[in-house]
Amino acid sequence: MSPQLNSILLIDDSASDNFLTTRTINKTGLCKNVVSTTGGREALDYLSCAKEGKYPNPELIFLDINMPGMNGWEFLEAYNELPEEMRNSIVVCMLTTNMSESDQRNSTRFNVLDSYTEKPLTEAKFIQLVEHHFQERFNGSPS
């Protein structure tokens, strides 16, 4: 029995991309619950809405940068403003092919970003990410 993450939040304006990412994650069986949102605003609402006194605090957030309305960088700015108890996630930036110059500038501005991955997310890349960020779960609890 491999260790599982409780929840992952996807932020991407493309429903098809969210579908494919959810499908990939589910195939690995490493996460119980994948939540899809189609924009920064919707994601912030989700993160700040408590259920039974508990904030969702997903272990991982996959964030697309290039979105209409509130884009990835604007989301990160707002996310930084959230109360401490609402932001206990590891944020992974999803890149479409590559970074533009302004993206590179922004990426150094936001230290909340934990890592980057290129689209599409494959099973292998996902497993590697989880192993990297949740090492203690893989090493700490014997399977």
Binding site: S14, S16, D17, L20, R23, T96, T97, N98, M99, S100, E101, D103, Q104, K119, P120
Partner: protein, 474 residues
């Protein structure tokens, strides 16, 4: 004269006229310069001659002086002898009578040059001779013990009269010599003044000509400068347009990739989840979609790479020998599979973008191996030209018909079905772009079925290549 300085309009015929006029004026200036030089020489010559005249005159005057003093010496020797009968007095007399003919000759020989009158000189000579003879006669009388006769001869005062006449002649000669000298001097001064005026005029005209040439050159210079600046502005505009176009190609190909990836991904999903519900026809359709998406991805990536040419970094020195060895190693699978041989002689070290130059050679070598029905043999050689390296990649492949040779360097242009020879038709477009990036040209010589020779040049000095704006890279 000042009509020359007015500017006319710039129509071509007047331009020709103007250049003809400028040439004429230059010629005139040259003539004047020669004239001024001649004047300077003439004045120099004149001066030298005047100095010569003075020297001659002085010499002549001093000889006349000498003649008088010699005669006086002779006279005192004669008197001394007559009075004392001491023969030691006779020695100076003898000396003088020996020297006098020579002295007279000298005076006469320079007479022409110092403008002395010949008649005066002849008189001087005869008087001198007579004086000498008179004195010699008294000495002869004394020698033959006829002293009284000798004294009587002296007392006759002939010798004194002769001596006075000689003095008068000498004075006359000296005066006429001085007058001639003055006359010469005046002429020389006049000539000098005239020449000076001439030179002054020449200098003034030369200055005017210089001013004219200056104005002509300045107007030419200003026109050239304006043209240069216009050209520079045009080039900057062109570069700007070019870079906009490249940026557009880059962004377009970048954004096209995203929906393409979605299509490919969902075809995969469809395959995985729905394949068992499809009949063979349905699976075939799905395959066509997948293949088309893959092909389009290839094209889009090609476009992306094309837009990125020249953005790989800095110009560096590249040892082409080493480069070819590396390429051969990388292509070893393809080379061995086709049993291809790669020959290359001593190749130079060139300056260029490493990745692009490598791609250039790799594309040409790969083409040479790919478009070949027999055993491929690729020969790479290089000739050094004045400002460029000229490379040649020759093969023994299927060749290219002359009609198609123009087309092959275009983007996405293919001569063969991709089933026969796979590819996207971008390899040679890349090559052309890379060669142009390095200030060179690419062309080929080929006949269908007889192999191809691809030639390209790389500028030796690539400092003119402006660094290209860096796009983000993966």
């Amino acid at each position: 004269m000042f009509g020359l300085f007015t500017n006319k309009s710039d129509n071509p015929s007047s331009l020709k006229e103007r250049s003809q006029r400028a040439f004429n004026i230059l010629l005139l200036g040259f003539g004047l310069l020669l004239l001024a030089l001649f004047g300077a020489w003439l004045s120099q010559y004149n001066n030298a001659r005047a100095e010569d005249n003075i020297a001659t005159e002085l010499l002549e005057q001093s000889r006349l002086e000498e003649l008088l003093s010699k005669l006086q010496q002779a006279e005192s020797a004669q008197r001394g002898y007559l009075l004392t009968s001491n023969t030691t007095y006779l020695r100076p007399f003898q000396d003088v009578s020996n020297q006098i003919p020579h002295l007279l000759d000298q005076i006469q020989s320079k007479a022409d040059e110092s403008n002395l009158s010949m008649a005066n000189i002849r008189r001087l000579r005869s008087l001198t001779n007579r004086k000498m003879r008179e004195m010699a006669e008294t000495i002869r009388l004394k020698d033959s013990n006829r002293a009284e006769e000798a004294i009587a001869l002296v007392n006759e005062d002939i010798g004194k009269v002769l001596m006075d006449s000689i003095r008068l002649e000498v004075a006359a000669l000296r005066l006429s010599g001085f007058k001639a000298y003055r006359r010469n001097d005046v002429i020389a001064k006049r000539t000098e003044n005239f020449i000076f005026g001439l030179e002054l005029l020449s200098v003034v005209i030369l200055l005017m000509i210089l001013y004219y040439i200056h104005s002509v050159i300045q107007s030419l210079f200003l026109k050239t400068q304006a043209a240069n600046e216009e050209l520079k502005a045009q080039r900057a505009a062109l570069r700007d347009k070019n870079s906009q176009l490249e940026r557009f190609a880059y962004i377009a190909s970048h954004d096209l990739n995203e929906p393409l990836r979605t299509i490919s991904s969902f075809v995969d999903v469809f395959h995985e989840e729905q394949a068992d519900r499809l009949d063979s026809e349905g699976k075939q359709y799905l395959n066509f979609i997948q293949k088309a998406a893959e092909r389009m991805r290839g094209l889009v990536n090609g476009m992306l790479q094309f837009a990125r040419i020249g953005r790989s970094g800095q110009m560096v020195d590249i040892d082409v020998n080493k480069l070819i060895r590396t390429i051969a190693k990388d292509l070893s699978v393809s080379i061995e599979k086709n049993r291809a041989t790669l020959d290359y002689a001593e190749l130079p070290v060139i300056s260029g973008y490493r990745t692009e130059i490598r791609q250039l050679f790799q594309n040409l070598i790969l083409n040479a191996i790919k478009y070949n029905e027999g055993t491929p043999n690729v020969k790479i050689s290089c000739i050094e030209r004045t400002s460029h390296w000229e490379f040649c990649v020759a093969d023994n492949g299927i060749g290219i018909a002359p009609d198609h040779q123009e087309r092959i360097f275009g983007m996405f242009s293919r001569l063969h079905r991709s089933d026969d020879y796979p590819g996207q038709g971008i390899g040679l477009a890349f090559c052309k772009r890379i060669v142009e990036l390095h200030g060179g040209e690419i062309w080929l010589a080929s006949r269908e079925g007889q192999g191809s020779e691809f030639y390209f040049t790389i500028a030796k000095d690539n400092s003119h290549v402006t660094p290209i704006e860096q796009y983000p890279s993966n």
